[in-house]
């Protein structure tokens, strides 16, 4: 049965964080015909429904864009043409049959339809004794949207979310859809793309380009991901003085100069910091989590009713606070932080229990810049100096990830990428402050890249300069290979991609 395609009469669309409104021609919700049971025939029918929408876009000369959670601050998902809401598409297929050369267990694989949210994944995986290796601090994004913009966490042993993806089902035209995976690491049994009616392409360059595809390669219909056995995180948050030892931890992940909260001798699995640049004298918040097969005795479960949860970072804090107050000033932010963002000890839960936020909206405005380990202190000091000259009511967050294989991943700096989040209430002051930091960074010698889903002012030359000519060219070549006609490339372009020189 064909999917249910519900056409909305609304001609404007607003992103989740309410940072912009986009005029559009048509918004459609796509529902699987049988929403109650994940079936291969149902999935195949929905693929055909998506192809019908692509045909309509081509016929009417409109752009087409897949919409996930709409979590991005940037206009990555925005289009003036047809916006295809994929969130109702949430079939799940665990443990697919694997390629004979695949060394892993099929139980560690999960194929999810594009609209499955990170929260849904956490919920489902826990029931099956599995877990995601990582996710963002908030988890209202869909899996396709999260990987398409390079969403990341702060897990010291893995990369960003796209780095646990091992296969992609991509609908590229009215008469073609493909299953993509790496030639160097085949995962799925050849029979499965055949069952889906998809053309099987094993190609490292194509796969790596589509991983962080910014919606520009077609409609990502399904994502095959590698999951791990369920684990528990023992979490601590402590306010610590920003001394030489802590600077070394931030800059090098060298913890020898500080006493981390928690059991001695354990290596942190997760490490983040939240810095209020206007309240440095009282120290900065450091959150550390240790991985266990089960919760240690004496630990407490997370409290689900709290406004802010154990895994929340700067953006979630600002979002929650701006949900409560319309204007955020520097003194008010410090007072609210004291009230709601507190220290805690020995809280233990699964990944999905500690990173829970799906509800925060607020009037937040944020950017995130990635730099390599060893240049972190320099970057944070630059941001602090800018704040001394032009103070803004906001927070810095520091999160760490391994570099990604995705061609245009912003978490690309070896040996480890540190992401400096700068989040504040949406105001002229916050925007002015961020611009000043970006200008200072551009003048510095610090290698840096910007999160595609958070604010930036990149243009074509800047993208080529920061992400590298070779990477941009490889991404564009892959796009041309998968979308061979100018009409298809135009259909899957938008102002955001054109502004970046990527369409």
């Amino acid at each position: 049965m064909p999917p249910v395609i519900h056409e909305s009469s609304q001609k404007r669309w607003q992103n989740w964080h309410q940072s912009y409104t986009q005029k559009l021609e048509l918004l459609v919700d796509v529902w699987n015909a049988d929403a109650s049971q994940s079936t291969v025939p149902g999935y195949v029918d929905t693929t055909q429904g998506l192809q019908g929408l692509i045909q309509r876009a081509l016929t009417e000369r409109l752009e087409l864009r897949g919409l996930g959670g709409g979590w991005s601050f940037t206009k990555a998902p925005a289009t003036s043409g047809i916006l295809v809401n994929t969130r109702p598409l949430n079939y799940l297929f665990p443990a697919p049959r694997t390629h004979p050369a695949y060394p892993g267990r099929r139980e560690d694989l999960l194929f999810a339809q594009c609209g499955v949210s990170v929260a849904e994944l956490n919920h489902f995986l826990k029931k099956t004794g599995k877990s995601l290796t990582t996710s963002g601090a908030s988890n209202g994004q869909t899996i396709a949207g999260a990987i398409g913009t390079g969403t990341h966490g702060s897990n010291l042993e893995t990369g960003a979310m796209q780095d646990f993806v091992v296969g992609l089902h991509l609908v590229v035209s009215p008469d073609r859809h493909v299953w993509l995976e790496r030639a160097s690491a085949p995962v799925i049994h050849d029979e499965i793309p055949q069952r889906l009616g998809a053309e099987l392409i094993r190609d490292d360059a194509l796969f790596n380009a589509v991983l962080v595809g910014l919606g520009g390669f077609g409609l990502v219909h399904g994502v095959l991901m590698k999951v791990v056995d369920l684990y528990y995180l023992q979490a601590y948050r402590r306010r610590m003085p920003l001394d030489e030892g802590l600077w070394r931890a931030f800059d090098q992940l060298d913890f020898s100069g500080i006493t981390l909260p928690g059991p001695p001798g354990l290596k942190p699995y997760h490490f983040t910091a939240v810095i209020n640049p206007n309240d440095l004298d009282r120290g900065v918040f450091v959150t550390v989590m240790y991985k266990h097969a089960r919760c240690p005795e004496g630990s407490s479960p997370p409290s689900p009713g709290s406004k802010l949860t154990q895994g929340d970072n700067g953006l979630e804090i600002i979002g929650v606070l701006t949900d409560m107050v319309s204007e955020l000033t520097i003194p008010l932010l410090s007072r609210l932080m004291d009230r709601f963002y507190t220290e805690y000890e020995n809280i233990c839960g699964t990944h999905g229990e500690l990173f829970t936020d799906t509800t925060t909206r607020g009037k937040a405005w944020g950017s995130a810049v990635a730099v390599p380990l060893g240049r972190v202190r320099e970057t944070v000091e630059l941001a602090l100096a800018t704040n001394r000259a032009y103070p803004f009511p906001g927070l810095f967050g520091l999160r760490y990830v391994l570099p990604s294989k995705a061609t245009l991943a912003f978490t690309r700096h070896a040996p480890m990428t540190c992401v400096l989040d700068i989040d504040g209430a949406a105001s002229t002051r916050t925007k002015g402050y961020n611009r000043r930091v970006w200008q200072q960074l551009a003048r510095s010698s610090i290698p840096h890249t910007f999160h595609w889903g958070k604010f930036h002012e990149l243009d074509g030359p800047a993208v080529r300069g920061l992400y590298g000519e070779a990477s941009v060219n490889a991404w564009l070549e892959a796009r041309k290979a998968l979308l061979p006609t100018p009409e298809l490339r135009e259909a899957f372009a938008n102002d955001y991609l054109r502004g970046l020189g990527l369409a």
């Binding site: 919700d29 999935y43 109702p88 697919p96 949210s117 919920h123 489902f124 209202g140």
Partner: protein
Amino acid sequence: MTKRAAAVLLWVGLSSGCAHYRVQAPGAAGASATEARSETLWSLGWGLVQERPRVDNCQDQALAEVTQSTNLGFALISVLTLGLAMPQQVEWRCAKAQPTPGDLGVLGAP
């Protein structure tokens, strides 16, 4: 101030939201399937006639989130009519279905 500017100011005052109350299901249930749809509903005759929103976009699923909003214009109408007519704006997002997992491969195959 010109008449035009006054009219713009009046329009902004009447149309801008000034109070929102949002109820959202916690956890995964709060991750909605659809974008927000809204209707302006009227309570007339001091509640004798109450409009209900026409929710026809949820494909038999529950609601993930409901937001009720009022603004200066609505408040003025309510006050000037002594409560005879009380408009409110209601916005909703549909919940997701909860499909049972399926089998992508051949059952029992290695």
